[in-house]
Point group: C5
Chain length 297, copies 5
């Protein structure tokens, strides 16, 4: 997540440099062409370009909208993970003997699940940093799992069933704990859905095509037959707005890509880590993750 | 689901070739007409065409929006099917004796349901690939069912009632299992709703009419009275953006049509297959379905 | 629900003939007027008309959007009715003795409720076709009910309470059955809300006013001072797109009006009829309702 | 709620008369000004006015959208109140002895709550018309309540707790009844939220500013330098569309203001009154509230 | 929350004064430039500026939309806090002995939680004004908490477990109370999500860039080559609409910033304070918070 209102121009530039180069090229070609082939290219009325410009704005607006929705949904799901993690520990403290060490085991495993889910979504090692949160044996068993977070959730089932079988947990309480685990399963599935569903690529193609057409028609427009440098400058600066917004939308739509625009899953997992340890009345609480330069992961 | 950012141009072309041919024809007729009947067709101001162009962008934007929503809803429902399938097995492991073979029977039947639902929505044989997942007897009984996935869900009722009657399952647990089955019933119903509800055709008619009017008025516009080939080229390339976006929306709105743009139900069913088998601690896990060329089913 | 991509032009025409006639009249009057009163009507720049045209597109787009949402919500509610009807029977089979004849009685009453709700929403006789699904006595009692479907739901309460009092149903099961009935009550209420809430008429007035203003300003536009027939033709064909889309939206917003664009409630009720009978292992399943000409009710 | 498609023009006019007067004034001033100070006011190109016109359409479209959402949400909440009122009585009949007079007491109090909530939202006397629905004692106690509907809900707690304490109601049933009361509490809170949250006024200011700028720039536009009466007429008629739509949105956004555009809470409360009395098998059912002139409250 | 339709112009001006100054500067530079370097700056057609103007309207409309949604969501969450606070006390009165002093303790702690959450979101002292609502000991323990409202919720667990252990509360009741606490935990998490998630800054950059480009191109437009003061005046007044709407959206998107546009969390907490005390049949009810000048906090 980008946290600063002011962030390096180099970041913006690195995002759209290829598109701007193509626009420069188009501008130069359209301008130099008539020198060698006079009378070949017609003067196009500027209203075709302006119409395309408005059409592109409408289409980008739709794309930004949908991309924002995906990004916001991803953030909402991680918000629910925060809520259900807290609720899980509050439930354990309400339903079980507060001095039972199993509460700490389940809470630590929940912290591990949060870290692991974030890493798994970003396609980094899902087992990193889990030492101390799950047992050595569990860590080993998780290595053969194709879906590590699902494997961790699976571990949570056993102690709850055991507590129930031993009469330490009644039917109502088990029902509520199971409900919380089911919601966490659902949150995990929602993240995987956002990660694995490619935003319709056909739409992006249509939009790119429209922007390049806009540049070409604008370059050929009669009232813009100025000298080359100025015309290219105008083409670049106007198309830059479109390309930048399109790229910003593109980044938002995939929030688990190990990019500065990601949902800050590591930072959120750390918040959960802090909250759960405080609910367990522990000392030695870890520090929140600080904003790194202009973004936080 | 189209998985690649770059996909064959032939695919795009095959989608909109008839529309482009019609536009070419309109362009040629409007251009040749005045040669035979001079003075008959008036010069129309280009602002009528540009206004229509903006109007079409607004209407397409709405259509893409609604189509995207249907497509995304379909994907969400299948995400819930993933979640509820996992939850079902986690519940069975928590509520029943983990060594009871009935758990495996119910889980396999759930896998069968996922495959069958996908095939049923795509109007392919809903009983294909179910061997080994449901018993021979069940397979036979399903043949007389008009709605095979509903028939499979029906089979899940019996063992749960029996476990309850035999005292192996308490009231709380049965309640939760029944809740999960009710959610799966609802997910199935949601898919059927999307499949069976025709997106309002009247709207599409209005949009198509508007695009063709746009082409005609643009062709008759005074400033575009260039020589035939160039004018037709401009008409085709601009209307192509509209037709392509409209067709992309059209594909999205029906996500269970056995098309490359479909929700990848077979691939999701396979993921569920893998997950449930791992939760059952099985070996011999099947492989995920690979992207076929530029899309995955 | 209109099911065919191609439907009769006469249907479109019959929907908007009055509006088109008015436009023709406006066109003729504006064109003939200057012949008798030369110099009275000024030449208006076409950009006022084009601006109005874009404004109308934006407003229509909003209206189509909201109307589509109402229509889609109506369809969703009926989808939930399908789901809850199936769930009701699955629950009865899970919670009660599967051989108890009360299951069939409740299921048939549920089918009756579906048919009756659809007929009641369309303001046709809510008691039609209920013979054989509810008893003669019930049919008679329903005649004094102002809200027949609510009366049928009321009948479902008694047998469930009786089963519980006789110890054939435990507390958990009654709770779930009551929950399903409460969801059905809610679905009924949602349909009534859509039926009884008039879509804000003020908005439609504003939109119509804008379209007629558009036609008048376009007719008075300087560059469109062509000969009468052609000008009127252009006015009619452009305003037709607006009127058609507005009428299409108008039809969508009221989905229970006994119109071809209705939510196909009779057809859905029949699907439920078929599903429930198959879940009861009956033979003599009725046929699905076929598409009638170009639509299905 | 306005129920008729045709409603008095005087209603429209009374809604926007001040705005139209201001526009007339602006038009006259801009037109007369150059007579006294020739050459002072420049001729502005009309494209500035048309751009503003399109911008205003976009902004109004957003506002209508959000206002409609508030209005529709208010209607939905009252739909849920209908559903939960019916469900409450169905639950009482299922869970308690159907002949117990407490059912009637609770049902009548629920009817009183509906009437009172509507009157409270409209800032009219919340205790009016409650005679016969709550006891004299309760009516007196309610007079000291700052929130009368919350006070009525509070009265529903006691009899349910008493029934449970006397063993006439089991734990499951109390749970469901309490759930219904919690949903009614939530519905009340939602209405209060809509009532008490002022729609962002800054946005309205920006929109009004834009409309007046539009009128000024349009009046100063070169091609509109017609004779005064006609120009003012055009200004008034075009800005009327904007003002009317903005006012329509304004009315929708506050649906509990004792205005013709209100959510018809009195009429809905009467429907609940009728439904609950029929569920209680009473005679002497009151009549539904008829549409008053062109609207229903 | 701004409560008055009329609020000081100085407030508007203070919000956008830097942007307007920049626009003035741009206008003056573009106008004076050709005096020193004649023939250097070309005359740009005004349609580029008007196209940018429409594009900006579309983009602002999207931004206002998303910002409004965040603001409305924040308000909804606080509406749910109102509902769940009331429900909590109604549940306590239904499930526990109404004369038990623990009800008052829990209710007061809930009031403390509401005040504390609001103060915590606004980054003011979360422990202020809690005296008399929580015990001295609790107040001290809260000082070491990184998340004070979570700490208060944690205190609610103990008495409920104790009541259950002492047999004063049955399983059903505990389940419902825990459910209400879980919903309050979720509401707190939702507020934190809105507070901590930075609205995508890249989008705002793109929008600002577009507005400044619009101003530059408009200033250089041929038909606007009027004398300096008037041209700058027109530039400022048109761009003012854009900047004002953008700023209004910016304010809405962050509703917990101790600004006049904030969600009125203190006022809502006071309403809860009043309601809960009336449900406890207390006297000495505090007064609602009055609108301060033109807004309420």
């Amino acid at each position: 997540m980008i946290t600063k209102q002011i962030f390096p121009l180099t970041y913006i530039f690195s995002e759209i440099k290829i598109s701007l180069l193509t626009v420069t090229l188009i501008g130069v070609v359209v301008d130099i062409f008539p020198i060698f082939f006079p009378g070949f290219l017609p003067d196009i009325p500027i209203s075709i370009a302006t119409t395309l410009g408005i059409a592109i704005s409408i289409l980008i607006s739709f794309k930004v909208n949908q991309s924002y929705d995906r990004w916001w949904e991803a953030r909402k799901v991680w918000g629910e993970i925060v809520n259900d993690s807290r609720t899980l520990v509050l439930q354990l403290k309400m339903y079980m003997d507060p001095s039972d060490p199993i509460i700490k085991t389940i809470a630590y495993r929940q912290i591990a699940w949060c870290y692991s889910l974030g890493q798994s979504l970003r396609k980094t090692d899902p087992l990193k940093n889990l030492g101390g949160l799950v047992s050595e044996l569990e860590l080993k068993q998780l290595q053969s799992q194709k879906n590590v977070p699902l494997g961790i959730l699976n571990f949570q089932i056993d102690p709850i069933r055991k507590q129930f079988d031993e009469g330490k947990l009644d039917g109502f309480s088990r029902l509520q704990l199971e409900g919380t685990l089911a919601r966490l399963t659902a949150s995990m599935g929602k993240c995987e859905r956002i990660k694995n569903t490619v935003f319709p690529t056909t739409y992006r193609k249509g939009l790119h095509l429209a922007i390049y057409l806009f540049v070409i028609f604008l370059a050929m427009s009669e009232p813009l037959r100025l000298f080359v440098v100025l015309e290219v400058f105008i083409l670049v600066i106007i198309s830059m707005v479109f390309f930048f917004l399109e790229k910003a939308a593109f980044r938002l739509q995939d929030p688990f890509e190990n990019q500065p625009t990601d949902t800050p899953v590591t930072s959120i997992a750390r918040t959960i880590d802090i909250n759960l340890r405080q609910l367990l009345d522990e000392t030695g609480i870890p520090q929140p993750i600080e904003s790194n330069d202009f973004y936080v992961m």
